[in-house]
């Protein structure tokens, strides 16, 4: 057994252990902390699986922003836990038995998958010339399966609509989430002044690198969103009220541009969502830049929550 395999087994065991802890620990707050740690380690697993793009996404969105979301909810819901009754032991035992059965079936099915495995990697590499981007994952996301990516942007937009629809009637059109205040001379405010310039540069770099190396709109957008959130949480910035035209424009810019480019392709080129080879790279990068902005704003607003305060302070 090589050192790499031993490392992988240890990593898998720790990941599993954290997963178990997340499920069984009685306090919800601890479970969220466990989940964040789990998310960071899973990002390592993705690196071991040679999927660095996914590792970045998992770390930024799965573990990072998802963790912030869960932690915030756990803090606000702290007393709600007390209302729940415990599931009876027999039910838990049978659920455990079923889950184990399911795990066995899944593991069995994965282990007997055919060899050599079918793959689209050669096809994706062969067609990469059409877009002149050399990151195959970006190619799949932006060209070959652009439809899924566009629909998923609409999913994000609908999540925003869904979250906003939970506002109480008097707060409609107001600012999402509570107003945060922090000691202006405190260390958090210091961080919030120091970090965003760096974070924004890193976010843009990750977006830009996405054309040829791991990275892209999601990962860059998540970093930008976290910078914005830092400013919001320290009170340096406030969430914009949801009735503002510009914030709505930013939120739909990504899917909107995608749709427009798609329709232009339908009218003047081969097909919906096709790019003329000469313009493919600038077009895709243009969509990606817009999408990064949209993703950053969407993720930030999803974390901020439903409108709670009227627009005037």
């Amino acid at each position: 057994m090589s050192i790499a395999t031993v490392f992988e087994i240890v990593l898998a065991a720790v990941v599993l252990g954290l997963g178990v802890w997340t499920i069984v620990v009685p306090e919800t707050f601890s479970a969220t902390v466990g989940f964040v740690a789990y998310g960071l380690l899973v990002a390592l697993v993705w690196v071991r699986l040679d999927a660095v793009d996914v590792a970045l996404t998992e770390a930024a969105i799965g573990g990072g922003l998802g963790g912030v979301l869960l932690l915030g909810a756990a803090a606000r819901l702290r007393d709600a836990d007390l209302m729940a009754e415990k599931t009876p032991g027999t039910l838990r035992a049978s659920a455990a038995a079923l889950s184990v059965l399911m795990a066995a079936a899944l593991a069995g099915a994965v282990l007997v998958l055919p060899d050599p495995a079918p793959t689209l990697a050669p096809a994706a590499v062969a067609k990469a010339g059409a877009t002149s981007l050399s990151n195959p994952v970006t190619n799949v996301l932006m060209a070959f399966r652009a439809m899924d990516t566009m629909l998923e942007k609409i999913v994000l937009l609908l999540a925003v609509v869904g979250v906003w629809s939970l506002a109480s009637d008097f707060a409609w059109g107001g600012r999402p989430g509570p107003r945060h205040e922090a000691d202006p001379r405190g260390v958090l405010v210091f961080l919030a002044r120091l970090l965003p310039p760096i974070g924004i540069v890193v976010g843009i770099h990750v977006l830009w690198a996405g054309a040829d190396q791991p990275g892209g709109a999601f990962q860059g957008g998540a970093i930008l969103a976290s910078m914005w959130l830092l400013a919001i949480m320290t009170g340096l910035a406030d969430t914009p009220s949801v009735s503002l035209r510009w914030i709505r424009l930013i939120l739909v810019a990504g899917p909107g541009l995608f749709l427009v480019v798609g329709l232009v392709g339908l009218l003047f080129d081969d097909a919906f969502l096709s790019y003329p080879p000469a313009l493919a790279k600038p077009l895709i990068l243009g969509i990606e830049v817009t999408m990064t902005l949209t993703i950053a704003a969407t993720l930030g607003l999803l974390l901020a929550g439903a409108p709670e305060r009227s627009a005037q302070p």
């Binding site: 079923l98 007997v112 079918p118 399966r145 009735s243 909107g256 749709l259 798609g262």
Partner: protein, 595 residues
């Protein structure tokens, strides 16, 4: 060696481009409505909806003139790397039905969701358009992962509609709906991962050529089916449906009950008939239909026991969804495959006629609620004098659901009965007839309450809106006349054998199911009921009372069982059990195949 895919599937057909706007136009509406915001959302919706209807009609026409299905390769990338859109007759019918129901709902919702700067209209119109886009993607999507994203789009659009009123009860219903739907879609996604691992593609046409009877594909089929059943709320996975559909505003309920549950149902049909017709085997189809039969019994009986009209209609949806699954064993050919034929056409017709009729029912119920400020069944006496049009719309929709000629349901029933006779599976014919009787029972129950004369007039709190009633009426009439349409260019329907209208035989059949329904309604429903009118025949009343008591006892058992099934742990465990059961049955059918 894998057999090559047929050449026809891999190129864009001449009118294939029509499939793009069927998705892109509602999506454009979503984006525009979001940007323009509060004051213009309804305007945007009213601009988009006729356009969408026109596209659906154009697709119907184009498909009639085209030799095979319409195919469109997105970005001109052929599968497996790219994603294709495909529309056959079945898709076209569903597209058109969706467009019609959305139009009617939009007219109905005109007054409820006015252009004012409040959140409800903003959310409602955007979500309506989003549901439309998601459904159209499901109907024409040719790739299992695109279908997954579309399913999630559908869920994300449907859940906020449930909680639009913002009461704690509706919020609870929405959370439960969201979590159960997410569980379902994760299982579906798990299935797609296994399929990709096995065959290197998620394209439906390519998969259908490559798929083999292997452990991974069995498990994938079982997981995906179970997950989709959870989203369709087939018994015993219906825990989320009644509170969600009864709690939403009426216009939203019409969409949720009429259309949204059909999305996941349609993917099951695609999966079983298109992707893996040879995989399920007869036992699995029988299990599916058995669940459907239980849904009919539980849903109908519980509908009869409800005190509120909207809950009654919601439980009726549980029952009618069961109806949709009776076609699976009937479509199982001697070749060991599920094949297009009378059974599939019957099932889809059922889906379409339920979509229209149920939407109309919810609209009528919503009008009643809006006018009276409540929907307690026992306080609806004399309603027919106050709101004749709403009661008429409800009655027509009910008649269409029961399957009175020439409704779509009657044609569907006819086709299914014929398939049952061909296959020699008489027991499903019995279920079909009993189902009609049970449907008749709760329709009669509501109508009886509405028609009972009272001394006092019903106090109405809300305004009377004729537009609403007309929308509901049109939809109900639509459902009632579906049997007259020329289906044969889209579905496999052989017209000649459909018996003529108003023949003595069909009349007696209809009459007998309605009479049976009346008896069931008297026996099962908890109303303080026409006993009063029977005092002249004391003997009859006492015998009736005897039957009634024994009926109530068994119904009580049913209700308790339902209560247990509607607990979260029980329902989610049933989901897993069903997945494992489907897997085992499929494996068993292939292991012990004769010869």
């Amino acid at each position: 060696m894998l057999p090559p895919a047929p050449a026809l599937e891999a190129i864009t057909t001449p009118s294939g481009f029509l499939l793009v706007p069927s998705i892109a136009v509602p999506l454009t509406g979503v984006v525009l409505a979001f940007v323009l915001g509060d004051r213009y959302v309804r305007l945007v919706a009213y601009a988009i909806i006729p356009l969408g209807l026109a596209i659906a009609v154009t697709i119907l026409v184009a498909l009639r003139q085209s030799a095979g299905p319409l195919v469109y390769l997105l970005g001109a990338w052929p599968p497996p790397l790219g994603v294709a859109l495909r529309a056959d007759g079945v898709s076209a019918v569903m597209l058109a039905a969706t467009a019609v129901v959305i139009c009617a709902v939009a007219v109905y919702a005109h007054a409820d969701f006015k252009d004012t700067a409040t959140r409800a209209p903003f959310a409602f119109w955007i979500l309506l358009l989003a549901i439309w886009a998601a459904l159209d993607t499901i109907f024409v999507g040719g790739d299992l992962f695109t279908l997954y994203v579309a399913l999630e789009l559908l869920t994300f659009a449907a859940v906020p509609l449930v909680s639009l009123e913002g009461h704690p009860d509706t919020l609870r219903a929405a959370i439960r709906y969201l979590l159960f739907a997410l569980l379902g879609s994760v299982l579906y996604l798990l299935g797609t991962a296994l399929l990709y691992g096995g065959y290197g593609t998620l394209d439906i046409a390519l998969l259908s050529h490559r798929i083999q009877a292997e452990p991974a594909s069995f498990l994938a089929a079982a997981l995906m089916t179970a997950g989709l059943l959870a989203k369709t709320a087939l018994f015993p996975l219906h825990l989320w449906l009644p509170p969600a559909h009864a709690g939403a505003p009426a216009a939203a309920s019409a969409i949720l009950s009429g259309l949204v549950v059909k999305g996941s149902f349609f993917i099951i049909v695609r999966l079983w008939f298109k992707v893996m017709p040879a995989l399920p085997g007869l036992p699995a189809t029988q299990l599916l239909a058995a669940l459907g039969a239980s849904a009919i019994i539980f849903g109908s009986v519980l509908a009869l026991r409800q005190q509120r009209l909207k809950l009654l209609v919601a439980y009726s949806t549980v029952a009618q969804l069961g109806y949709l699954f009776l076609m699976f064993p009937l479509a199982f050919e001697a070749s060991g495959k599920l094949e297009d034929g009378n059974a599939l056409s019957g099932g889809l017709l059922q889906a379409v006629s339920h979509a229209t009729a149920k939407a109309a029912m919810f609209m009528a119920a919503g009008s009643i609620y809006a006018r009276l400020g409540h929907d307690r069944l026992t306080d609806l006496h004399g309603l027919v004098r106050t709101m004749p049009l709403s009661v008429l719309a409800f009655a027509l929709a009910g008649i269409a659901l029961v399957g009175v000629q020439p409704s779509g349901a009657s044609l569907a029933k006819e086709l299914l009965l014929r398939a049952a006779a061909e296959r020699g599976q008489w027991w499903w014919a019995v279920v079909l007839e009993a189902g009609g009787m049970l449907t008749a029972a709760y329709v009669v129950l509501v109508l009886a309450h509405a028609l009972v004369p009272t001394d006092g007039r019903i106090a109405s709190t809300g305004p009377a809106l004729h537009v609403r009633n007309i929308a509901a009426l049109v939809l109900a009439l639509c459902s009632l006349s579906l049997g007259l349409l020329p289906w044969d260019s889209y579905l496999a329907v052989s017209h000649g054998s459909v018996s003529g209208f108003f023949a003595v035989e069909t009349l007696t059949k209809t009459l007998s199911s309605v009479l049976g329904g009346v008896v069931l309604a008297i026996l099962i429903a908890p109303w303080p009921h026409p006993d009063a009118y029977l005092t002249r025949w004391k003997m009859v009343a006492s015998i009736l009372g005897l039957f009634q008591r024994s009926c109530h006892r068994s119904v009580g058992c049913l209700e308790r069982a339902n209560h247990v099934l509607c607990q979260w742990p029980a329902a989610s465990m049933f989901l897993l059990i069903l997945a494992l059961l489907f897997g085992a049955l499929m494996v068993g059918a292939h292991t012990f195949r004769p010869g």
